[in-house]
C-alpha cells in the first residue's frame, strides 16, 4: 500500500518537472513585461532538437545545451518581433506556437525511419536515469518518491530557487522587475531595456526548451506522427504562472499541485484499489476531468484574483505586461 503512495508521489514529480521548467521560463519572460504565448512551440522545438542532438552525441549535457540554445533562438525571434519590430505580443506568441509545433513535426517526419531511440543512446540514457540522494533517499515513503530522481529533476528545483534569488536578492533582478512594472521609469534611469528584455526572454525561452527536452526523454523519445510530446503542457505553464502568482518558488508548489491532478488522471485506479474505503470514489471520476482540472483551477484563480485585485490591488502580475514599449510614444 505504501508502495502505491510512493509510486504516486514519484509520478507527481515526474509530471511536474517539465511544467516547472516551462513555468520558470515563462515567469522570467513575463517579469520583463512580455506575455509570450509561444511556450508550447518553444518547448516543442527545444524538445526535438535537444533530443536529436543528445542522441547524436550520446550525452545528456549536449542535449540540454542544444535545447537551451535552440529555444533561446526562438526567444530571440519573439524578442525581435515584439521589441524591435513592435509587433503584437499575442499574435507573435501564437505564431511561434504554430511554427514551433510545425517544425517539430517537420523535423520528426523528415527523419522518418532514421529516428533515433533513447535505448540506443547508452550514455544519454544512463545520465538521465535515477540518482539517489545519499541519506535522504532512505527516508521511508517519501525518500524514494522525492530523492531518487534524475539530474534534470533536481536541476529544475535548483533553477526555480535560483531565479527566485535572482529576482528578490540581486540588483539586476530588481531592474528587470522594474522594466516589467514601468518600462518608462526604467528607461529614464538608463537601464538598457532592449538588452534586458532580449536576454531575459531568451534565457526564459531556453529554460522552457529544457522542459520540452525532459518531456521528450520521459516519453522515451519515441516520435509519433500525430501527437506532440508537449501536448498542451506549454499552455498549462502559462496558466501556472498565474496560479503561482509570478513567483518561481510558488511555482514549485504550483507545479506539484498540477502534477498531482495529472497523476490522479493516470493513477486514480491503483489508488482506488489500494484504498477502496477512503479513495474508492476516485475511480468514478473521469480522466478528462483531471486533465481539465489545471485549466479550471487557473480559470478560477484568474477570476477570483481579478475580482480581489479590483478591490485591493493584490495580484503580482507585472503592471506593464503585454504592452510594447516605444520610447518616443507620446
Amino acid at each position: 500500500m505504501l508502495d502505491v503512495i510512493t509510486l504516486f508521489l514519484f509520478n507527481i514529480v515526474i509530471y511536474s518537472i517539465p511544467l516547472l521548467y516551462a513555468t520558470c521560463g515563462e515567469i522570467m519572460v513575463e517579469k520583463s513585461g512580455s506575455l509570450n504565448l509561444g511556450v508550447e512551440g518553444t518547448m516543442a522545438i527545444g524538445a526535438v532538437f535537444g533530443f536529436l542532438a543528445g542522441c547524436k552525441a550520446d550525452s545528456l549535457l549536449v542535449g540540454v545545451l542544444v535545447s537551451f540554445v535552440v529555444s533561446a533562438v526562438v526567444g530571440s525571434i519573439f524578442s525581435l518581433f515584439t521589441i524591435t519590430l513592435q509587433a503584437n505580443q499575442n499574435v507573435t506568441g501564437l505564431t511561434i506556437t504554430t511554427i514551433g509545433v510545425a517544425v517539430y513535426f517537420f523535423v520528426g517526419n523528415a527523419l522518418g525511419a532514421n529516428w533515433p531511440y533513447l535505448r540506443d543512446c547508452v550514455r544519454l540514457n544512463k545520465s538521465f536515469s535515477q540518482i539517489e540522494l545519499p541519506g535522504l533517499s532512505r527516508i521511508p515513503v517519501i525518500g524514494k518518491a522525492f530523492f531518487s530522481h534524475n539530474i534534470l529533476v533536481y536541476a529544475a528545483v535548483v533553477i526555480a530557487i535560483l531565479i527566485w534569488v535572482y529576482f528578490e536578492k540581486t540588483s539586476t533582478g530588481l531592474k528587470l522587475r522594474a522594466i516589467g512594472e514601468n518600462p518608462g521609469a526604467a528607461d529614464s534611469l538608463g537601464i538598457d531595456i532592449v538588452r534586458y528584455k532580449y536576454l531575459h526572454i531568451m534565457f526564459g525561452s531556453g529554460i522552457m526548451g529544457i522542459g520540452g527536452l525532459y518531456m521528450g526523454l520521459n516519453m522515451g523519445g519515441t516520435f509519433e506522427g500525430s501527437n506532440c510530446w508537449i501536448n498542451g503542457y506549454g499552455w498549462i505553464a502559462i496558466a501556472l504562472v498565474i496560479f503561482a502568482n509570478w513567483s518561481t518558488t510558488h511555482a514549485i508548489i504550483g507545479t506539484f499541485v498540477f502534477g498531482f491532478f495529472n497523476t490522479l488522471r493516470v493513477y486514480n485506479m491503483p489508488l482506488a484499489t489500494a484504498f477502496p474505503n477512503s479513495l474508492g470514489w476516485l475511480s468514478k471520476i473521469p480522466a478528462q476531468f483531471f486533465s481539465a482540472l489545471p485549466f479550471i483551477v487557473t480559470l478560477l484563480v484568474l477570476i477570483i484574483s481579478s475580482i480581489r485585485s479590483k478591490k485591493t490591488g493584490g495580484s503580482n502580475s507585472p503592471t506593464a505586461i503585454g504592452v510594447n514599449y516605444y520610447r518616443e510614444d507620446r
Binding site: F81, T97, I99, A110, A239
Partner: protein
C-alpha cells in the same frame, strides 16, 4: 556613433505598402522553398501542386473543391468573428473553445430532435443552439473583462482547454446517458447525425454546393456592412479606438463590449454547427485548429473584411493543397501548411514594421 532609432510614420503610399507586403510573401515562399529543397523536393513543383489543390489530373475535381470549401467555411466565419472582437481590442483567442461549444450544442439538437422534425427546422435549431451557447461564453468573458478587468486572453485560453476535455469526455465515455455515441460499437465512437440534421446543398453536376458555403459568404457581406455602415459597427470602432472617448460621449462601453464579444463568440459557435452539420457528426478534433488559424488570418488581413475573405481562402488552399500534395510527397505532411502560415505571418509583421516606422541614424546632421 553609429546607433539607430525609430520614428513612427504614417506617410507610406499605398503602392509602397503593397510592395513591402509582396516582398514579405516572396521571402516566405523562398524560405519555404529552402525547407522543401532540404527534403529533396522541388519547391516549384510542390507549390504548383499545392496551389492547384490536386485538381490537375484528378478524376473527381468536384470532390477537391468540396474538400477545400469544408476548410474554407469555418475558417472564414471564425476569422470574421474574431475580427469583430479584435476591432475592439478584445483578445478573444477562445475560438477553439467556442467552436467546440457550438458543435456540441448543435449535436445535442441533432440527436434529440433530428428524427422528429423536418430537415431545415433541425438545421436552424442546431444553428440557434450553437449560436447562443457559444455566445454565452463570449458574454461571460466580456463581462469579466469589463467589470473586473480580468485578462480575457488567458480566460479564453483556459476555456479552450476546458471545452476540449469536455468533448473528449463525451467522445470517450461509454454510458447509458451518452446519446452522442454509436450504440452498435464496443469502442466509443461518435454517432452519425440523423439525415435531417445533415447540411444539404445545391447539386451542380457532380459538385455539391453546400448551403453553408452560401451562408458563410452572406455572413461576410453582413459583417462588412455591419462594421462599415451600421451604428453598431460605428460603436465598435469608437470603443476600440478610445474607451474614454466612448464613455465621454455617453456610449455604454459595457453593453457594446458584451454585445460585440457575444456576437463574435456566437458566430464561431455557428461555424462549429456548420462544420458538424456538413460532416454529419462531431469529433474531438473537429476544430481543425480553426480558432488559432483564425487569429492568424484576422491579423494577416489587418481586420479588413474583404481581405479576410481572400486570405482565408488562400490559407484554405494552402492547407488543403498541403494535404493533397502530401499524397505525392511522402516526406512531408499537412504540418507544412502550419509552418508556412507562421512564416507568412512573420513576414507580414515585419512588413508592418517597415510601413509604420522609419529607422534613422542617431545624431545625424542636416546638410548645412
Amino acid at each position: 556613433m553609429n546607433r539607430f532609432h525609430l520614428i513612427r510614420r504614417s506617410d507610406v503610399s499605398i503602392w509602397k505598402k503593397l510592395l513591402y507586403y509582396l516582398i514579405g510573401i516572396v521571402f516566405s515562399l523562398l524560405l519555404g522553398g529552402v525547407f522543401l529543397k532540404s527534403l529533396g523536393i522541388n519547391p516549384l513543383r510542390y507549390y504548383r501542386d499545392m496551389a492547384t489543390i490536386g485538381l490537375i489530373g484528378n478524376y473527381y475535381p468536384a470532390k477537391s473543391v468540396e474538400g477545400l470549401l469544408k476548410l474554407f467555411v469555418p475558417l472564414l466565419i471564425t476569422s470574421l468573428a474574431l475580427s469583430l472582437s479584435f476591432k475592439m481590442r478584445f483578445w478573444n483567442i477562445g475560438g477553439e473553445g467556442e467552436f467546440i461549444t457550438g458543435a456540441i450544442f448543435a449535436a445535442i439538437v441533432a440527436f434529440k430532435l433530428g428524427d422528429s422534425l423536418p430537415g431545415p427546422v433541425v438545421i436552424l435549431l442546431m444553428c440557434i443552439a450553437a449560436f447562443i451557447s457559444a455566445g454565452v461564453i463570449g458574454f461571460l468573458t466580456a463581462h469579466l473583462r469589463v467589470r473586473f478587468n480580468t485578462n480575457e486572453t488567458l480566460v479564453t485560453l483556459m476555456i479552450n482547454y476546458i471545452m476540449l476535455y469536455i468533448i473528449k469526455y463525451i467522445g470517450e465515455t461509454k454510458a447509458d446517458w451518452n446519446f452522442f455515441l454509436r450504440t452498435d460499437s464496443e469502442r466509443p465512437m461518435f454517432a452519425k447525425f440523423p439525415d435531417a440534421a445533415i447540411m444539404k446543398g445545391i447539386k451542380i453536376g457532380s459538385f455539391n454546393l453546400l448551403y453553408s458555403v452560401i451562408i458563410a459568404l452572406l455572413i461576410a457581406v453582413v459583417v462588412y456592412i455591419y462594421l462599415r455602415s451600421t451604428k453598431h459597427g460605428y460603436e465598435v470602432a469608437v470603443v476600440g479606438d478610445s474607451v474614454n472617448t466612448a464613455k465621454y460621449s455617453g456610449i455604454n462601453v459595457y453593453f457594446i463590449t458584451v454585445r460585440t464579444v457575444f456576437l463574435s463568440a456566437a458566430m464561431i459557435g455557428l461555424a462549429g454547427a456548420f462544420t458538424a452539420a456538413s460532416s454529419g457528426t462531431i469529433s474531438t478534433d473537429i476544430t481543425n485548429n480553426v480558432g488559432w488559424t483564425g487569429v492568424i488570418v484576422a491579423w494577416l488581413s489587418k481586420l479588413s473584411t474583404p481581405v479576410i475573405c481572400i486570405v482565408s481562402l488562400l490559407i484554405s488552399v494552402l492547407q488543403y493543397g498541403c494535404q493533397a500534395a502530401s499524397a505525392s510527397y511522402s516526406q512531408i505532411d499537412h504540418n507544412f501548411a502550419d509552418l508556412m502560415q507562421g512564416i507568412f505571418l512573420f513576414a507580414i509583421l515585419a512588413a508592418d514594421f517597415a510601413v509604420n516606422f522609419k529607422v534613422v541614424r542617431t545624431g545625424s546632421k542636416k546638410d548645412a
